[in-house]
């Protein structure tokens, strides 16, 4: 299955299991979404459960909050995460804090699915990675899968979760794994072990990182598209790197990361989002706190630059294999 199909399958499973699950967003109904992730669901479950919305992200999230308070379990799609900002107040001041401010009386188990990341020549409004923004908001869970198997299992967990979840989907991975080389075609998920996805119900818990490739010379910590870039770069560098997919920014599985870095003594963090106050800063701080005495080299970050995501200079902006490779070499050179 592709990642788009796996996400579709997760929603299919949950629509069948729980009559309180509703799916809505811009173009998700008849059309099945601009990335085809909700394709066929309206036909199968009816317009009462899978439907289009006005172009009003603030309205989509706010309505979902109200439905959730009244017993439903809405799963909303924001067409691109770049268009989530009209909903910012509803996410940050409302959805995230409802349980807290009402002393546990009210909560709303909304899942917000939204495509993120670049690599499709989408320019500044179809390419951003806002995970740090939401990880910074207390009361929201923020996650990002990097493959079809995790995508389905994590989406089911997110829908079943009684806390609100920002579910970020790296759009460049929807239809195939991508190691960051624009000269090469995307790979095929059906040729990738994580493209094997069971049809029925299963979960991948939120809040667990995964060791994607074991190794004992260096730890590379990343998520989303950059997991695939890191695997390719480490292979090319000929370094026995342990590559960890964070998967969940909040809650963060620091134990898995710390165990690896303590063992290897070297750590590289990679993400596509801008650098300053990016999620890598949090990772670096926590890893340093847990592993300071084991570190043989400073923790490095390879990230997007601190500029809006450009259109023409996409591949100079994207933290691709070359930059990851250079960082690996720098870290390994330190005696």
């Amino acid at each position: 299955m592709t990642m788009a199909q796996a996400l579709n399958s997760a929603m299919d499973v949950m629509l069948a299991r729980d009559p309180n699950v509703l799916i809505f967003g811009e173009d998700v109904g008849y059309f099945g979404g601009v990335f085809r992730v909700t394709e066929g669901l309206q036909k199968k479950y009816g317009r009462n459960r899978v439907f289009d919305t006005p172009i009003a992200e603030g309205g989509i999230v706010a309505a979902a909050i109200g439905m959730g308070v009244n017993g439903l379990r809405p799963v909303v799609e924001i067409q691109f995460c770049d268009y989530i900002h009209p909903a910012f107040d509803q996410l940050v001041s409302e959805l995230s804090r409802l349980r807290y401010r009402s002393g546990g009386q009210f909560w709303s188990p909304v899942t917000v699915r939204t495509p993120c990341g670049g690599g499709i020549h989408g320019g500044q409004t179809h390419s951003q990675s806002p995970e740090a923004v939401y990880a910074h908001v207390c009361g929201l869970k923020t996650v990002m899968p990097s493959n079809p198997y995790d995508a389905k299992g994590m989406l089911i967990s997110a829908i079943e979760d009684d806390d609100p979840v920002i579910f970020l989907e790296p759009k460049r991975l929807y239809n195939g794994p991508f190691a960051g080389d624009p000269e090469q075609q995307s790979g095929r998920w059906d040729a990738h072990p994580k493209g094997e996805v069971p049809d029925g119900y299963y979960t991948v818990p939120l809040g667990q990182a995964e060791v994607v490739v074991p190794g004992d010379e260096l730890t590379i910590v990343g998520y989303g598209t950059l997991v695939h870039v890191a695997v390719a770069a480490a292979r090319e560098a000929g370094v026995c790197a342990e590559i960890i997919d964070v998967r969940s920014m909040m809650p963060l599985d620091i134990d898995t990361l710390a165990a690896s870095v303590k063992k290897n003594g070297r750590c590289l963090i990679v993400h596509e989002a801008t650098r300053t106050c990016g999620y890598g800063a949090e990772l670096s701080a926590q890893i340093q706190e847990a592993c300071f005495w084991s570190l043989k080299a400073p923790i490095e970050r390879v990230t997007g630059w601190d500029t809006p995501y450009p259109h023409a200079q996409e591949w100079e902006y994207f933290p691709g294999k070359k930059r990851v490779l250079e960082a690996i070499r720098r870290i390994m050179e330190i005696a």
């Binding site: 289009d52 172009i55 009003a56 020549h121 500029t307 200079q313």
Partner: protein, 411 residues
């Protein structure tokens, strides 16, 4: 008995693939039917207007009724020329997209008319806050075709330095505001621009457009509130082209009330106009501009039209609507309607039309040859990589100087 049904009311499109494009529910008043109130009329006296429609060109292509702007022939021909040029430009650019020269493109086919008419009815000093579906505005304001193409190509001559996807133009020199990818944001910004114009004692007004789909955003309502409260000299236009990607206008609220009628809640005049009728749009815009310049504040205009083609190069409209929908659209093609009107006036012929089409097609071809000589995104030359770091701030801060060095692209 419980009156609630256990089912949500979910609007549906009037037709889908395989069905006939049935417009029997579209009720249109005849051309010339609606009266034209004085520009300074009190808003409470014209509250029926958004429920009707301003139309000038009748079925025989004559200009009829009080909204006839009685334009001179030169203006009509100029309008036709800009519309045809826009269509030729769109066709060329979409072909270039299909050939892999552009990453993306948005056509405006069927919607050239209202934009051209409005730009001609406004003054050069008036500020335009357009959507991505209005290349006609840049063209009518005189932005060079080559410059527009270079933006779409992200090449070495791109005036936006490769930062934007194709069609998100910016031409400050002709008072054409930078287009945003986030729909709706320009609407309240235009109101602020107009407030500043008033504050400075200038008689420039602003005109902003938003799709009917995007009119569901909060930004639309911010614009209406601010324009109403401060009586800002602005024209706020909703382009009702019936579709927002796959979603019919009913999902933006069109099922229960014309978009123009939203003005009523703000005490603002609301005009609903046949968007494919060059003369009607010109007249309505002239009315709203005159009112704004006279200090009577904003007008909301609904431009009733049809999106003839797919949403963009990334979309395939045949997946969600019939193939013959535009052919059957009761308000026709704005170009053919103006052409026919000019022919009926005895001021135009089929031969001249064909000759003009050929001339403009050639002009577009020539511009294209020149534009690609400055490079394409694929093959270059492109804007310098270092340009990525410029304009984030007025001056390059130390951390960006450092990042630029790390990338190894000193200017």
């Amino acid at each position: 008995m419980n009156p609630l049904t256990g089912k949500l009311h979910i609007p549906d499109a009037p037709f889908r693939p395989g069905q006939h494009a049935d417009y029997s529910k579209v009720t249109l008043p005849a051309a010339g039917e609606l009266e034209r109130p004085d520009v300074l009329v009190e808003e409470r006296l014209i509250r029926h207007m958004p429920y009707s429609m301003i139309r000038v060109l009748d079925t025989e292509h004559r200009a009829v009724g009080p909204w006839n702007p009685n334009l001179d022939v030169e203006t009509l021909r100029q309008g036709l020329r800009f519309m045809l040029l826009t269509r030729a430009y769109d066709d060329r650019m979409m072909r270039a997209q299909r050939q892999g020269k552009l990453t993306f493109y948005v056509k405006s086919t069927g919607e050239e008319g209202f934009t051209v008419a409005q730009c001609l009815a406004l003054r050069p000093g008036d500020m335009l806050f357009t959507t991505y579906r209005q290349p006609a505005a840049a063209i009518a304001r005189g932005a060079p075709l080559v410059d527009m193409m270079c933006q779409c190509l992200s090449n070495s001559r791109d005036n936006l330095r490769g930062r934007q996807v194709p069609t998100l133009y910016s031409f400050k020199e002709v008072n054409f505001f930078s287009i945003s990818g986030n729909v709706g944001t320009q609407f309240p910004q235009a109101v602020g621009w107009a407030m500043a114009s008033n504050y400075k004692g200038e008689d420039h007004i602003a005109s902003a457009w938003v799709g009917e789909g995007a009119s569901a955003e909060g930004d639309f309502h911010y614009a209406m509130t601010f324009a109403s409260v401060y009586e800002a000299p602005v024209i706020l236009n909703i382009v009702n082209n019936q579709w927002a990607i796959s979603t019919f206008q009913d999902f933006a609220g069109g099922e229960h009330c014309p978009f123009a009628a939203r003005a009523l809640g703000y005490g603002m005049p609301g005009l609903r106009v046949d968007g494919n009728d060059f003369l009607a749009v010109y007249a309505a815009t002239q009315w709203a501009a005159g009112r704004a310049r006279a200090g009577k504040g904003a007008t909301l205009i609904e431009l009733y039209t049809y999106r003839a083609e797919s949403h963009s190069s990334s979309d395939d409209a045949t997946r969600y609507r019939p193939v013959d929908d535009w052919q059957n659209w009761p308000l026709g093609d704005p170009i053919l309607r103006l052409k026919q009107h000019l022919i009926d006036l005895g001021e135009w012929t089929e031969e001249r039309h064909l000759a003009l089409e050929a001339e403009l097609k050639q002009a577009v071809m020539d511009a294209w040859q020149e534009a690609v000589s400055y490079g394409t995104l694929e093959e270059g030359p492109r804007p310098p990589v270092a340009a990525m770091f410029e304009h984030v701030y007025k001056e390059l801060p130390p951390h960006l100087i450092k990042q630029r060095r790390q990338l190894g692209v000193e200017p």
